[in-house]
Structures are given as structure tokens and as C-alpha cells.
């Protein structure tokens, strides 16, 4: 047992830290710190900076232009990124599609698509969820019928995050109605500029429009864009979900959120005293801080096992549940900390540089509280995670 990083790991952390200090544009880190929305250009700028250092694809092997890092290095990198308020790496191409292509794509597909993910030629989005499916991903109804060298795709995808920026979407489609529901699913790459595709924003409860519905109406997709074998897509989909779940605990986000919470609680006054001196509020901060300290170690235990080659199992479900509880509690406390100034609806202020209503730090918390209710819903709801834990670990 040794809670300390090795010398190599410390050297790596310092390297990352120095790089971020020298290369992360303050304009971007300010936006992240204040909870403002990033533009497509912001994301692309930051991706390009990371790519020029070779650090864009943290979970890709070196042969495909990735870093070749182990799980501990990736964790260090993500920690430092969040602590520095760096924009989050957009995951759809890098964390989701990339690993699937490397594992199941043809050589042609790998050779063509992977470099385009790195150099920003393509912005990918996700076509997994469908209306009414919820956490039941296997209930895919979007159909793809073979027609010569093409598939004709019809259906609807939803909850497509940042789909408004994307030129490509990877989709689960139904290519067969035979057998079990899982057996007739295929994994297809679709050009968003194809005729018959329409993207409509979904305004969320916080007023933001980060997710979309994607309508596919007789969309022609070259059969060459089928990944792996027809009707085997469920295997690839599950593989993707497993890889999506790295950093599922969100320790870095929670740590950054806790710092923000404390900063606000020191600035806000209650009865003329800093709010953080109020014993009951201090206890609520203390509680979530204690929970986070333990969760960070649980996370490192899983990361460490992954670095040693153990496949992440249902432990990631435990991290998902506890991680979202901690982050949502931090969100709730931060909203409580800003008091009456939680009430103004300030979506405009997040986008522009308007003179804020109330303190600058009071702009983001309410929206973040509302928006982050999603954390316990998406990526397999916490209810689904609990059922996984009960079956896979407790064997109930």
C-alpha cells in the first residue's frame, strides 16, 4: 500500500501542470471557471493545442497517435485539467468512437477516420438514445435497410449532445428484427450533411440547448460505413460504454466544484459573518468533502487496478452513483450558498459578457444545479447502476 505517486508519476504530473500553465489560454479557463458556455471554436482551439502536444487522445495507443498512457497517467492528466479549469475534451470522437474503430473497424476505417478525429476534421456526435428508450439502449428502432452499396436509414435519435456542431454521427441502427433484441443491431457512421437529416435542439431545464434530436428520413449511408459485422453492433456498443466510463467518478470536477463552493461560502455573508463560518453550512461542506476524500481513493483503487490490467467491472457502477451524488450535492450547496441571487435566470449572461445580476460567482450555480440533474440520469441511470451492482457484485 502506498498512497503516494511514484517519482515518475510525480514528474509526469509536473509536466502536465507546466504545460497547462504555459498553454491553456486564460480566456478559456476563465470561461470554464465561471461556468460559461464554450463555443465550437473554443473547443476546436483547445483540441488543436492538445493535439500539437500529442496529448489529445489520452486513452489511445501510440500507434494511432494517442498517448499510450496507463490509467494512472490518464487520471493525473484529467485531474490537472480540471484543476486548471481546462475545457473538457469533447468525448464523442476521442473517448467513444475511437476505441470502437480501433477494436472493430476495418484498416480502411482506422486509416481514414482516426486521423480526422485528432486533427479536428470531423466533429462526431452520438446516435445511441432514441425517444422513449431511456436506459434501455437495446430497444433500437431506427432502421437501416440494405439497398445496393448503401443503407437507407430511417428513424430518430435523441439526447445527441453538441449535435449542432457535428458533421458526423455514429448510430446504432436495427438491421434485423430476428432473434433477441440485441442481435439485430448494427453500428453505422453517418454523414450529418446527408440529405434527409435534420437536427432540432432540445432546450433543457436550465435553458441551455446542448442536446438535440436528430431525425433521419431515408438517409443514404454507404455500406462501407458499417463498423464490424452487420447485426453485431450491440457488442461494439457495450464496448464503447465500458470505455466511456473512465473518469466516471468525476473526482476532478467535484474537486474543482468544492473549491468554487468554498470560495463562494467565504465571500457570502450570513448574519454579517462569512457563510463558511456558519456551523451548519460548514458541516454540509465538510460532509461532502469527507465523501469526496473517500471517493477519490475509491477511484484511485479502480484506476490502479485498471493500470495493472484488470478490466473495470461493476466497480465503475459504484463510482458512477457515488460520483454523481457528490457532484450533485456540491451543486446544491453552491446554489444554496448564493442565497437570493440563485433566483435570477441568467442564461444570457453565461454566453456573453453582460454585466451580471448580483456577484459574478452567482451567475452559474443555479443553471449548473439544474443541468447536472442529468448526471444521475444519463450514461445508465443510477437506478440501472444499482441493479448492476446488486446483480454483478452482490449476486442477488
Amino acid at each position: 500500500m502506498d498512497l503516494n505517486y511514484t517519482d515518475d508519476q510525480i514528474a509526469f504530473r509536473n509536466e502536465v501542470r507546466n504545460f497547462l500553465r504555459d498553454n491553456l489560454p486564460p480566456r478559456l479557463s476563465d470561461k470554464v471557471r465561471d461556468g460559461k458556455e464554450l463555443t465550437k471554436q473554443d473547443h476546436e482551439e483547445w483540441h488543436a493545442i492538445l493535439n500539437s502536444r500529442g496529448w489529445l487522445a489520452g486513452n489511445w495507443p501510440k500507434e494511432h497517435g494517442g498517448t499510450g498512457w496507463d490509467a494512472v497517467q490518464r487520471n493525473i492528466f484529467e485531474d490537472e485539467m480540471t484543476k486548471a479549469n481546462a475545457p473538457r475534451i469533447v468525448p464523442f470522437g476521442l473517448a467513444m468512437l475511437g476505441p470502437v474503430l480501433m477494436a472493430f473497424g476495418s484498416d480502411d476505417q482506422k486509416g481514414y477516420w482516426l486521423p480526422r478525429i485528432l486533427d479536428g476534421s470531423d466533429w462526431w456526435c452520438q446516435g445511441y438514445s432514441e425517444p422513449g428508450a431511456g436506459s434501455d439502449l437495446a430497444s433500437v428502432r431506427t432502421s437501416a435497410l440494405r439497398d445496393g452499396d448503401d443503407y437507407i436509414v430511417n428513424g430518430q435519435k435523441t439526447w445527441t449532445t453538441l449535435g449542432q456542431h457535428a458533421n458526423m454521427i455514429f448510430c446504432l441502427v436495427r438491421t434485423s428484427k430476428e432473434g433477441k433484441r440485441q442481435e439485430g443491431i448494427s453500428f453505422l457512421l453517418v454523414d450529418m450533411n446527408s440529405p434527409g437529416i435534420e437536427v432540432r435542439p432540445i432546450v433543457l431545464i436550465d435553458g441551455g440547448a446542448e442536446v438535440n434530436e436528430v431525425f433521419l428520413d431515408n438517409v443514404r449511408v454507404p455500406a462501407a460505413n458499417l463498423v464490424g459485422e452487420e447485426n453485431k453492433g450491440w457488442t461494439y456498443a457495450k464496448y464503447l460504454l465500458t470505455h466511456e466510463r473512465t473518469n466516471i467518478a468525476g473526482v476532478g470536477f467535484a474537486s474543482a466544484g468544492l473549491e468554487t463552493l468554498k470560495r463562494i461560502a467565504r465571500a457570502e455573508l450570513s448574519g454579517g459573518q462569512p457563510l463558511i463560518k456558519n456551523p451548519l453550512f460548514a458541516a454540509r461542506i465538510g460532509q461532502v468533502q469527507i465523501d469526496l476524500m473517500a471517493m477519490a481513493t475509491t477511484n484511485l483503487r479502480v484506476v490502479s487496478a485498471a493500470a495493472a490490467g484488470q478490466a473495470p467491472g461493476a466497480e465503475s457502477s459504484m463510482l458512477k452513483v457515488k460520483g454523481t451524488q457528490v457532484r450533485q450535492e456540491i451543486n446544491a450547496l453552491t446554489m444554496q450558498a448564493i442565497g437570493p441571487y440563485a433566483m435570477p435566470f441568467v442564461s444570457e449572461a453565461l454566453e456573453g459578457d453582460n454585466d451580471p445580476v448580483g456577484p459574478a460567482y452567482a451567475q452559474a450555480p443555479t443553471g449548473q444545479y439544474l443541468n447536472n440533474r442529468k448526471l444521475s440520469i444519463y450514461g445508465g441511470s443510477n437506478e440501472v447502476q444499482r441493479s448492476i451492482i446488486a446483480k454483478a457484485i452482490l449476486e442477488l
Partner: protein
């Protein structure tokens, strides 16, 4: 002991419920959400005609109610449809303070308020005062006001503002707080109007040597402010129970119709048990409102124990109900378009008016525990 409504209140409740159900179509809600007032003239006039505003005042004040249960009955119904009408601001805070402190001439405004023709907002809290009722630093010089007022709900739509200022004492003293009537177009007064997360609007108000007319005796406003806030707390707590009921119905309906893994998700025992807990807590909240409404006219020491207890519980249950409802809805519960979004946001925001769970637990400890 009797937990039935009087015949009059039962009639008011029934009529109001029918009226709001008819009026508050999704279209109207959306239209009001985009308006500057948080209400529509038609609805507000309709409420006035039904006597809903009058129910907040006693007969001496020109109304026909004014007791805790009158407030609770009316506010709960408004909550049930997620209404944003400024009943609390114009009626309970504005009208209530004028009724309590006004000269005969000032009292004459009540008739217009009850008739729905005059809107009021209370500009009391200041940046940094948080929920402390006695923390006032707006200054008075030669009868003119200078200072800043924060998150003045209904401040954009109001015809008249009631503004607190300090005429003596230290910044947090209860003694030395005075109230003034200020016209919204008075010189030196600027308003920055903005929408609220739970619907309706508020304003940041800056006063710079702004002329004002005293309301009540100089330096003696604290007791009336405390009474008005106790009544407003009763109202917003009852409104919260109405919101909880509406959210509970929406959620159980969804659980019955939404299918996943081959059956209605309401058949999953884990959700059933959590929903049972939600229901139990809503009944706790309902009882807490009854406790407050029943003690609203008690002496302040007793009243304030119930204010603190009820608002603490309401804030806790509000968060539970809103969060569980969104969680059980899943994705659809995250969308602005679905009815839950407005109800849940309005319910969550209840904790940010008139003191939150933290403020009121501290008060409760001081009053009733230690």
C-alpha cells in the same frame, strides 16, 4: 380541533381551482413566462373578481379573510398550476404592510390592490443582507433614499414600491428600520429588470437621493416586516405544497404510462418505495403548512417557531420532491418543454425566498431547541 375548511374557504378553493385549471393552459404559462409581470391582466382581473386578493385581507381592511388558512388555501391553488402571479408581492407583502402601517390616505390604496388595479413590490433585501430581516443599510437624507435593493420580486411590474431604509441604529439592529412608499418613476430610481428561474420577474433597484413618503412610524417597521414575512412564508409554503401535489400527480402518471424493460416503470419496487417516501414527506409538508397557518396570528415568539419549522421542512421536502421527480422522469424531466420543468424550478426556488433551510434551522434552534 377541526381539519375541514370552512364553507366559505371550501367554496373559494373549489372556484379558484376550477378557474385556474381553465385559465392556466400551457400556452398561457408560456406567455406569462415571457411577460414582464409574471401575470396576465385577464387572470389577475379574474382573481380579483373571484375575491382571491380580497381573501388576503380582513374585513376592516376591505377584504373578507386575512387569516392564515385564507392565505394557505389561495396560495396552494396557485401553486398547483405553477402560477407566477404576484399574490405574495402585491397582496401579502405590499398590501399587508400598507394595511398594517398606512395612514388613512395610504390605506385607500388597498381598494385598488384588492380590485387588481394596483401592483406593489417590497424592496427590502439588499446585496449582502441575504435573508436577515434586520440588516438594512439604505440611507435616508432629508427624507430621500440612497441605497441598493436586491432581487425585488415583482419590482418590474409594480406601480408602487415599499422601500426599507435605516433611520437610526446599527446595520443589523431591529430598531431604526423605516418603510417608505416610492413611485417607480421617482427621480434617482433605476431598475434593472430580469426574469427569474422559477418564473416571473424581479429587479435590482438603485436609489440615489430618491424622494419617498414615509409608511408608518420612523424606525419602528421591524415588527410589521416580520409579520408580513411570516404571512408571506405561510403563502409560499402553501404554494410549495400545491407545487408538490402537481408534481406528484405528474410523476405518478408518468410512472404508470412509461414503459421500460417491458413494463410500466411504476411497477419497479425501488421506484414504488421511493415514491411512497416522497408522498409521506409531502404529507409532512402539508401538515407543516397547517401548523403555520394555524399559528400565524399567535404571539410572535410562538408564530416564529412555526415559521422556522415550516419553512425548514418545506425547503427540504421541496428539494426531495423536485429531484426525485426529475430523476424518475429521466430525460424528459430534463427538458424545458415538459410541464415538470417549470413546476420543479419554481419549487426549488422556494428555498431562496424568505429564508432557506439553513437560515430557518438556525432560527428554530435559537427559538425552540437550545
Amino acid at each position: 380541533m377541526n381539519f375541514n375548511l370552512t364553507e366559505e374557504r371550501q367554496m373559494l378553493q373549489d372556484g379558484l381551482r376550477r378557474f385556474l385549471r381553465d385559465q392556466y393552459t400551457p400556452d398561457l404559462l408560456a406567455q406569462i413566462a415571457d411577460s414582464d409581470t409574471g401575470t396576465s391582466t385577464d387572470v389577475w382581473n379574474g382573481l380579483a373578481e373571484m375575491g382571491v386578493i380580497g381573501a388576503l385581507f380582513n374585513e376592516d381592511q376591505g377584504g373578507f379573510g386575512g387569516a392564515g388558512f385564507d392565505i394557505a388555501v389561495v396560495a396552494e391553488e396557485l401553486g398547483r398550476v405553477g402560477a407566477t402571479d404576484p399574490l405574495i408581492d402585491t397582496g401579502i407583502l405590499g398590501g399587508g404592510l400598507i394595511a398594517a402601517l398606512g395612514t388613512d390616505e395610504q390605506q385607500s390604496m388597498l381598494e385598488d390592490i384588492i380590485a387588481g388595479k394596483h401592483h406593489v413590490a417590497l424592496a427590502h433585501a439588499e446585496p449582502g443582507s441575504r435573508y436577515d430581516l434586520s440588516r438594512v443599510s439604505t440611507a435616508v437624507t432629508d427624507g430621500k433614499l440612497t441605497g441598493r435593493k436586491a432581487v425585488v420580486v415583482n419590482g418590474g411590474a409594480a406601480d408602487t414600491l415599499i422601500v426599507s431604509a435605516r433611520t437610526s441604529g446599527d446595520v443589523a439592529d431591529q430598531d431604526g428600520i423605516s418603510l417608505f412608499l416610492v413611485a417607480v418613476n421617482a427621480s434617482g430610481l433605476t431598475r434593472r429588470i430580469y426574469p427569474l428561474t422559477g418564473g416571473g420577474h424581479a429587479a435590482e433597484i438603485t436609489l440615489d437621493d430618491t424622494p419617498a413618503t414615509p409608511l408608518g412610524d420612523a424606525g419602528q417597521a421591524y415588527a410589521a416586516l416580520a409579520t408580513a414575512h411570516a404571512r408571506a412564508t405561510c403563502a409560499i409554503s402553501a404554494e410549495a405544497v400545491g407545487l408538490m401535489d402537481a408534481i406528484r400527480v405528474l410523476t405518478t402518471d408518468y410512472l404508470k404510462t412509461r414503459k421500460q424493460f417491458g413494463q410500466p416503470i411504476g411497477k419497479f419496487q425501488a421506484l414504488q418505495h421511493r415514491m411512497a417516501d416522497v408522498l409521506i414527506e409531502i404529507e409532512q409538508a402539508r401538515s407543516a403548512v397547517i401548523n403555520l397557518a394555524g399559528h400565524l396570528e399567535a404571539e410572535p415568539a410562538t408564530r416564529d417557531i412555526h415559521v422556522a419549522a415550516t419553512k425548514t421542512l418545506i425547503g427540504q421536502v421541496a428539494r426531495l420532491v423536485a429531484e426525485e421527480a426529475i430523476q424518475m422522469h429521466g430525460g424528459i424531466g430534463m427538458t424545458q418543454e415538459y410541464a415538470l420543468a417549470h413546476l420543479a424550478k419554481r419549487l426549488v426556488m422556494v428555498d431562496h425566498r424568505f429564508g432557506d433551510t439553513l437560515y430557518h434551522m438556525d432560527r428554530f434552534i435559537a427559538l425552540a431547541v437550545a
